[in-house]
Structures are given as C-alpha cells and as structure tokens.
Symmetry: C2
Amino acid sequence: MTTDTIAKEVAVSFEVGGKVCKLGGIAKGSGMIHPNLATMLVFLTTDCAISAEMLQAALSGDIQNTFNMVSIDGDTSTNDMVALMANGMAGNREITEKNDDFKVFAQALNTVTVQLCRMIAGDGEGATKLLECTVSGADSMQVAKTVAKSVICSSLLKAAMFGADANWGRVLCAIGYSGADVDVTKVDVAFRSAKGSISVCKNGAGIPFSEENAKEILLEKEIEILISVGSGTYSASAWGCDLTYDYVKINGDYRT
Amino acid sequence: MTTDTIAKEVAVSFEVGGKVCKLGGIAKGSGMIHPNLATMLVFLTTDCAISAEMLQAALSGDIQNTFNMVSIDGDTSTNDMVALMANGMAGNREITEKNDDFKVFAQALNTVTVQLCRMIAGDGEGATKLLECTVSGADSMQVAKTVAKSVICSSLLKAAMFGADANWGRVLCAIGYSGADVDVTKVDVAFRSAKGSISVCKNGAGIPFSEENAKEILLEKEIEILISVGSGTYSASAWGCDLTYDYVKINGDYRT
C-alpha cells in the first residue's frame, strides 16, 4: 500500500568536457518520512561517466543537505533508500577526482535531489502545504541545519501552517529548544509564498504586521519560512509539510 | 488562555522520624509539553523539615525520571517550571543528608510527580488516551529512557493508539531509530489496559494475537506499552498521549 498521491520525477541536463550528460531521479514515499539514511525510496540515474568512488562521494555529500533534511512526521523509517547509478553513456571524460567536472556533476545532482525532497515533503501524508525552512546567517553549517530541522519538525508550527497562522512564536520556540547556539536577539523571521513575503519578527521580537496579508500569503500551497540567525555565512534548508486532520485519519483512523 | 481540561492535583502523607509529613503538588499544562526543564507549571509543597540542598537534590534527581519523561507533542516550551517548597511544619528532624529519611522523602516526591505526569499526559491537547511506555530489561538507564521517550514521541504510534490499532511495527520502528543500543531479536512488546494485556511481539517478531481482543484493550482510556529489551536490570517509563483530530483543531484550526 502506498499513500503517495503524485509521481515524483525530475531530470536535468549538464555539460562535462563538452558532452551533454543527463541525470534523473524518481522517489516514492509520503509517510514515515524523517530520513536518516534510514519507506522512502529514491532512484537516481545518469549517463555521465564517473568513477564509483566519485559517484559515492557526490551522493554521500548531497544527502546530508537534501534527503536527511526532510521530515514529514519525525518517524524515521526502517528502510529508506537512495540509489544513484551511472552508465557513462554520455561519453564525457570520466570524472575520477574532485575537480571542476565533479562540481558540475554534484550541482546537477543537487538540483535533482532538492526537487525530489520538495516533492516528497509536499506530498506528505495528509499534507496541504509544502514547507521549506531556510536558515541563514549561521556561524556553522551544523547550527543552520539543526535550527532548520527543529523548526520543520515542530508539530505546533506544522499545525499553525495548516491554519494559515503566522505564529512566529512557535518558530522561535523551536529554535530555542533545538539546542543550537543562537543569539535570540539576532533572530529575524519572515514567511514567503507566491503571494509575497512578510516579516513577522526582528531581532527576536515581534513586529507589527497585517494579519490579513499574512493569512493571504500562508493560504498558498508552498510556504517558505525564512530565518536569519545572525551575521554568519552558513545557511541550510529543511523540507516538511503541515499537520492536518488527514494525517491523523491516514495513520489513526484507517481501520474504522 | 489554557487548554487544560482537568485540575491536576495530588498529595501524599509519609513518616519521617515518627512525624507525619505531607507533600502535595499541582500542575498546569496540556500543550507544548515535552519538558526538558524547560507552558508546564508544577508547584509542589511539603511541610517536611528538609534542608535546601537536600530539597534540590531530591527534586533534581526526580524530574529526570518524571517530568522530563513526558511528551505531548514534542515541542519543548520556553517556560516549563517545577517548584518545590518545604516549610518544615511537620516537626520531623530535618533531613540534611542522603540518609533513609531522604529516601522516604524522595519516594513520596516520586509518588506525587508520577501522578502529575500521568495527569498532564492524559490531559494533553486533543488527547483521548493516556499512554505510558515502560521499558525494562535494559543494560543502562540511558537505554531504557531513550527507548521509552522515542516510542512515546512517535506520531505514527500516537495516531495508531487513537485508532486502537495494536501496531507493534511502529513500536519497533521507534525503538530502532532511537539510536539506543538494543538487540532487536530480544525485544518483546505487549499492550495492557484495564481490559487485560496482550503480547504482540516476541524476540523482535510478531506473534499471532486476536485483533478483536487487542482492540478491546486499546479502546480504554489508559494504555500501557510494555517493552522488554533483554535481560538487563534497568527500566524507565515515559508518558504521552494519542494524536487526534482535536490536536490539529486546537493548534491549527483555532482561527477559522
């Protein structure tokens, strides 16, 4: 049985040494998603010529910032999987070291994996919205990732997003309990969607904003939660979804 | 505003050096509850004569196994608080060291705090059931607590409990992703309530059981999830509640 509601597929083209390479991926999964490569399945294929070692290096480096930054329900599955296969049929010079070609490949891979992450999160069990939390200005990558993951995992914030409520207090709360070393007096929070963006918190304190405008922004299907935590140079994103009646129905009321 | 639906109060009597002492507590809180003494408020009072140092020692030791083992939604509040006050009016000889009197006091304290934890968890936002997960046979207290807390925090298991489904696979999954060093081939799982108990997993594998009987047990208001992880001597309990439509309503749909 699957609760996926959309086919999750994406592909890109890129050039290595004058040869056009392609990289595509498909993913499956909508519940029990909080990968720690750990019922998410992802298959990535490419015709790029690249050594097994470099293929593994590209994938291992990528998933820390992509699939491991997705959470639908906080429940890590027993059998998540990401497979990346390359057959070299693009005819490019084989990538065997971390050179500029490798960077091009890694960037192409990241474009595909981020899109798959967004598809998985947006199709979370019962979800009505894709949430993307981007933390910038952090002093380290670990701080940026810890904060982003904590916010995206908060049941309270997920429920507020379902209700289209710009409840920035719940964002700050999740930052606080994440344990990350963050100066709350330097934290800014904004919400953004196709309907525009709205700042709701500046230097750790609430600022006046139009509730009506905020609601219009938050009624969209894709919501960005933008958090700046200072003047550092690190940033990270995490992906999740809102917590809805249908999540409870799918996981609690399926027998009745 | 509070979403508490019951008054949470409990008191006990105990004897120190021939004098009867009393210890009582009141608690407030039903959402944003995942204390890490971190909107839970608990006030405990006693007339026992006990030094400030011993009072702090008793409380600090206790909360690690009580309030810090409660989770309603995984969201640690910014302002949880437990206060314990003693006025010495019981007239007992003052407790100033970790002697037998201290043990009696600590036991009385634990009786009160465990009851308050159960009241808080059972009155969780939207909850229809109190869940108590007890892990035994662990090689260390840390393993027992990590497993109990992981299981009680699982959104998937919380939703299954709402649906009265003996979904032991979700229990095993939460044990697995807890990171605790547990041999899955030694894990037994049973559910228990006022209607009896039922074993559902033995040595890490499902065993045949009556779904009808399991449902009858799980339709009760207080459910114990009993997990044995081996032949160690440590055990720990954690308290939580089911994940329901009303949790989403209270935290997501309050404006509409």
